[in-house]
Symmetry: C2
Subunit: 229 residues, 2 copies
């Protein structure tokens, strides 16, 4: 089943009309054909459709039913992820989206190897949209421009905050809950003492995934798997 996110303007009179880059993606990459069925997601609703016509870069489809999307986690998870080398950071965005993360906040950590500015945002957003479509999410996760840790902490003051720390003693909370949660995952070299102190001052619990050493690109994914259950 084709799964795409669409703008509200694409829906009118019981039909779906797509043009531009999204239609190009449907027609040329996914190669949809008349008669093919799919799901178009818009503002939390899944519109079941059957393709009517594919002409150049225009796709039209008949909408046959609408229902709420059931695939969003009940607990919103925000990931404060220290910048990593590009390949690793992209892998965290892709796998984190599949796992159900709601919002990504790239953090300029002291020991971060990767550097990235707001110019990475278009690429990051494309990765998030593609991963959200492949995993049949109900929404594309949000992502911010890279920011200092202090700013990142100010953006999650209303949430329960967890700082992943190999020297932490608490395990991740295991009870299912709808409480919004923010988890901070450091770079390959870990958070600095000053960064850990800043997070503790902001109310963070220092949690661990256990005694094994995880590569940075795996840590956020493992944490999300546990938190989203």
């Amino acid at each position: 089943v084709v799964w795409v996110f669409i703008e509200p303007e694409a829906l009118a009179d019981g039909q779906l009309r797509v043009s531009g880059a999204k239609a190009h993606h449907l027609a040329r990459v996914l190669r949809v054909r008349p008669g093919e069925r799919g799901v178009a997601v818009c503002e939390g609703l899944a519109h079941q459709f059957t393709v009517l016509t594919v002409e150049g870069d225009r796709v039209t489809a008949e909408v046959e039913g609408v229902s709420p999307v059931g695939s969003e986690p009940s607990r919103p998870i925000t990931l404060l992820q220290a910048l990593l080398p590009h390949t690793d950071f992209d892998a965290v965005l892709e796998a984190g989206t599949e796992m159900g993360i709601s919002r990504f906040v790239p953090v300029k950590a002291e020991r971060a190897v990767g550097r990235a500015g707001p110019d990475r945002l278009p690429r990051w957003r494309a990765i998030l949209e593609s991963a959200a479509e492949q995993s049949h999410r109900g929404a594309i996760p949000a992502i911010e421009a890279p920011m200092e840790l202090s700013a990142a902490l100010r953006s999650v003051t209303s949430m329960r905050l967890l700082a992943l720390d190999p020297d932490g003693t608490e395990p991740l909370p295991r009870q299912p809950s709808d409480e919004p949660i923010a988890i901070a995952v450091g770079p390959e070299g870990g958070w600095s003492a000053a960064e850990l102190a800043a997070m503790t001052a902001a109310g963070a619990s220092r949690v661990t995934l256990g005694p094994r050493i995880l590569r940075a690109r795996l840590a956020a994914v493992a944490a999300a798997a546990i938190l989203v259950q």
Copy 2:
């Protein structure tokens, strides 16, 4: 800290003496130098050492202490993983080792895209050893030659068996436990109806990681993260 697995023969008279491929790895890849500290793991014991000499492909070190390794999960997890394309299967071995999986059983599933014979074993073992060293495991996970599902199921009859199935209704068991567990993860196209029936007949529970669609290479890692907690 350098972390290596060694054979019992390398230990004698309070010293560690390594030659051959392992010494080459220490001297040329990890570039250890006299005075550097590390941990050599053998049969569940961690030997803390300080390097004395590095000469050609021979490394000697003084053993300064011995203690049990504390990084093995209390619950042994066996992963029955359907064969995947090589890159994906290798990624599962690497990440699964970091997560704490004890034993890998490659399964020739009906819908498996990847093909592999026993000739892949040397490469797979090298990946497992390297990942176990990087994640500071207390043991290198075991791996079998690829086998049919029926044979794989016969190898885990004493364990609680979980079959990962997107249409399953049970979540993964969340309670911490020492009970050995086997989890079967299918190929990108999922287990066939006949395979699911065979697993159910073998006593398997059909479990799900939730409503989102995970790539096959991510599913085992997410499941291990939850089970190992």
